[in-house]
């Protein structure tokens, strides 16, 4: 046994072993459930338990029938509700990502430029909200955004507005919620890439005649792009499928795909359509990742090009 262990350590087998564990994890908890969902998306709706029909059926002795039901996908195509909710999810997620970027970039830059001991503290503060329950933090926003909430009371006290703004239960509230909840996911990769940039590059740019804004645009921004892309993906992808934030803050006005999915599953109990929606959403999410990968590859290829 000990010899075998030694052999594993000596050979490449050790590194394979390290690879097998995460891949097994993904296979078990992502690929298999996804295949189940995919299977359900191709089956019929049935009243019963489970609420869908089988894909494979023995009709008579020796004949196996595979039934692929595309009507679920076709149905999603016919009802514009689904298309709209897809688009709305995407728009909200994109706006949320832009919001995170606008707020997160200066913050990340500030942290990266801060003195080292102070930097750790600032990073801690960015992660601090994670110590409270996500749900509680979203609920807290109801208290802030509602008509008699903190924000409206404060604005009316100062005299900026005379009647309360209705922000809660709108798409704006959803976007605010997304920006708030996902901000750390934007800041951390941005910080990681900004922190690596050698400040003398900025000085070199000044020295060569670039004003601060030009120096930023031509040096810091392009060098921080990997961080911008990574942060945007980390915000955009989960934000598209977000359920809790639009449910709590968006009211009935916001139709995000996560909410529609929830309704299909639990209100309509139409598992096949819900599964088809989930499959389409996955495709929708995989596309930006694939684009991101391509961009990164191209950049690497530029740098290696002779």
């Amino acid at each position: 046994m000990r010899e075998l262990w030694k052999k594993i350590q000596d050979s490449y087998a050790g590194s394979y072993l390290a690879l097998i564990i995460p891949y097994a994890w993904i296979l078990l908890f992502f690929m298999i459930p996804f295949l189940i969902v995919l299977k359900i998306s191709f089956s019929d709706l049935k009243v019963g338990l489970p609420p869908y029909g089988p894909l494979l059926e023995w009709v008579e002795e020796g004949v196996l029938v595979i039934k692929l039901n595309f009507t679920n996908f076709a149905f999603i195509g016919t009802d514009s509700l689904y298309l709209f909710s897809y688009l709305e999810s995407l728009v909200i997620a994109v706006l949320g990502t832009i919001g995170c970027l606008l707020i997160g970039y200066p913050m990340a830059y500030g942290i990266a430029k801060a003195k080292p001991p102070f930097r750790t503290l600032l990073l801690m503060l960015v992660i601090l909200p994670f110590w409270t329950s996500f749900l509680l933090r979203v609920y807290a926003w109801i208290g802030i955004l509602s008509t008699s909430g903190l924000l409206n009371t404060a604005l009316m006290k100062v005299g900026i507005i005379s009647s309360p703004l209705s922000i809660l239960d709108t798409t704006y509230a959803t976007i605010i919620g997304i920006v708030y909840c996902y901000l750390p996911f934007m800041i951390l990769p941005l910080y990681a890439s900004l922190e690596k940039i050698d400040y003398t590059l900025m000085e070199a740019a000044y020295d060569l005649g670039a004003r601060p804004i030009q120096a930023f645009r031509r040096v810091i921004w392009p060098l921080s792009r990997p961080g911008v892309i990574a942060g945007s993906m980390l915000v955009l992808i989960p934000a598209v499928g977000e359920f809790v934030i639009p449910e709590l803050l968006g009211g009935s006005q916001t139709l995000m795909i996560g909410k529609v999915l929830w309704n299909e599953f639990f209100t309509n109990r139409d598992w096949p359509v819900a599964s088809a929606l989930a499959v389409l959403m996955l495709i929708l999410l995989v596309t930006p990742i694939a684009i991101f990968q391509r961009i990164q590859e191209r950049q690497v290829r530029f740098l290696d090009a002779d």
């Binding site: 070199a204 020295d207 060569l208 005649g209 002779d306």
Partner: protein
């Protein structure tokens, strides 16, 4: 070793009292939270000069350079370039370019784009930019590397690109922060020569920061030795080496023997110092203007100390000791001779004959002597 062309020796504007300095630094100081990095430095550099700021790390030479670049603002004093006060001008608004020690090439741009960076800030046509980039790369012999990314270049190539990038804007003043520090010894010596050639070709005034005295000596028209934020001495390499004005400068450039002693005579043409440490009277053929009886140091460079096995005719500037150690460097040998006072004196002798035939060896008693005009008196 860089051989300076004759033209350079003739060009000595600092000798001419009417010559107008091109770069003028006047009483410049820099304070970093109470720590004085540069302490009221005044310096004039003339057009076309290759001036070196020499000193140990932390002596303020880099801070002075950064103030010239505009990357640091002086706490006090004024900086003039070509007669214009640029003290408060930001870096992007000065006719000055800098070559950074780390080269600071933009990693996301290829060589051409790096060089073109500074030109794109100005309103210059694309064709002219291309032309000037090509010229600059040709100047540093990197014209075939235009499409390479910085990480694909060797240290020496990066150094050339950085030089091209800082020269392409035709600055009035080029600042070089330890330009050769990242190169290995052989490449460094070769690059020293090239830098001087390029500087002469473009005619731009260079100010270089270095901690390497050999580099400063071989490359510069003049150099300034700095210590603790102060300028200790400014002069040609020859002046600094032969006539250091202080103990500090004498020690910093090359090695030197120093004897403590008491002034016995101080005339207009000579000074006589009695030194127990040296074991003889020290006769120096220049006056020092110090009171009789005061303590001074007399210094003599090792290569100016002669060794012989028989007593020399002169009585002054002549002592004897035992050879304790011989450092063989190939072309020269350094003899460590211990005097009766215990003082170790270094004497460098060229190896005119092969090692085995050498007349002087370990534990031999030898006589050391030197000429009066070769030693100097150090006051501080």
């Amino acid at each position: 070793m860089v051989k300076k062309p004759k033209k350079r020796i003739d060009l000595q504007p600092w000798q001419d009292p009417k010559a107008k300095p091109y770069i003028h630094i006047e009483g410049v100081s820099k304070d970093f939270d109470g720590h004085v990095a540069v302490d009221s430095v005044t310096l004039s550099v003339f057009q076309g000069e290759f001036f070196s700021l020499l000193g140990p790390s932390g002596c303020g030479k880099t801070t002075l350079l950064r103030m010239l670049a505009g990357l640091e603002m002086p706490s006090q004093g004024k900086i003039y370039i070509d007669g214009v006060d640029v003290t408060r001008r930001p870096a992007y608004d000065r006719p000055v370019n800098m070559m950074f020690q780390s080269y600071a090439l933009f990693p996301h741009m290829n060589v051409e784009k790096n060089v073109a960076f500074g030109l794109k800030q100005e309103r210059i046509s694309r064709s002219e930019i291309n032309e000037r980039v090509k010229d600059a790369l040709r100047l540093v012999q990197m014209e075939t590397y235009g499409k390479r990314a910085p990480h694909q270049l060797s240290g020496g190539q990066k150094q050339r690109v950085a030089l091209a990038r800082s020269l392409v804007k035709r600055p009035k003043l080029l600042l070089l922060d330890e330009p050769l520090a990242a190169l290995d010894k052989r490449l460094r010596e070769q690059t020293q020569f090239e830098l001087v050639t390029i500087q002469e070709k473009v005619g731009v005034t260079f100010i270089m920061v270095t901690h390497d005295q050999e580099e400063a000596m071989t490359m510069s028209t003049r150099l300034g030795v700095m210590d603790h934020g102060r300028m200790r001495q400014i002069g040609t390499p020859n002046e600094i080496y032969e006539y250091p004005n202080s103990d500090y400068v004498a020690d910093f450039i090359g090695s030197i023997n120093k004897f403590e002693g008491r002034v016995a005579e101080d005339e207009t043409d000579h000074i006589l110092v009695e030194s127990e440490e040296a074991g003889c009277e020290l006769y120096v053929s220049h006056s020092a203007d110090v009171p009789i009886g005061s303590q001074v140091k007399v210094a003599i460079r090792p290569e100016k100390v002669m060794i012989s096995t028989s007593p020399p005719e002169q009585k002054r500037n002549s002592t004897r000791g035992i050879v304790k150690d011989i450092g063989y460097l190939g072309d020269v040998s350094i003899y460590h001779v211990e005097l009766a006072s215990g003082k170790i004196v270094l004497a460098t002798q060229p190896n005119l004959v092969r090692l085995a035939e050498r007349p002087v060896t370990w534990d031999d008693e030898v006589y050391l002597y030197w000429r009066a005009e070769n030693s100097i008196v150090l006051m501080t």
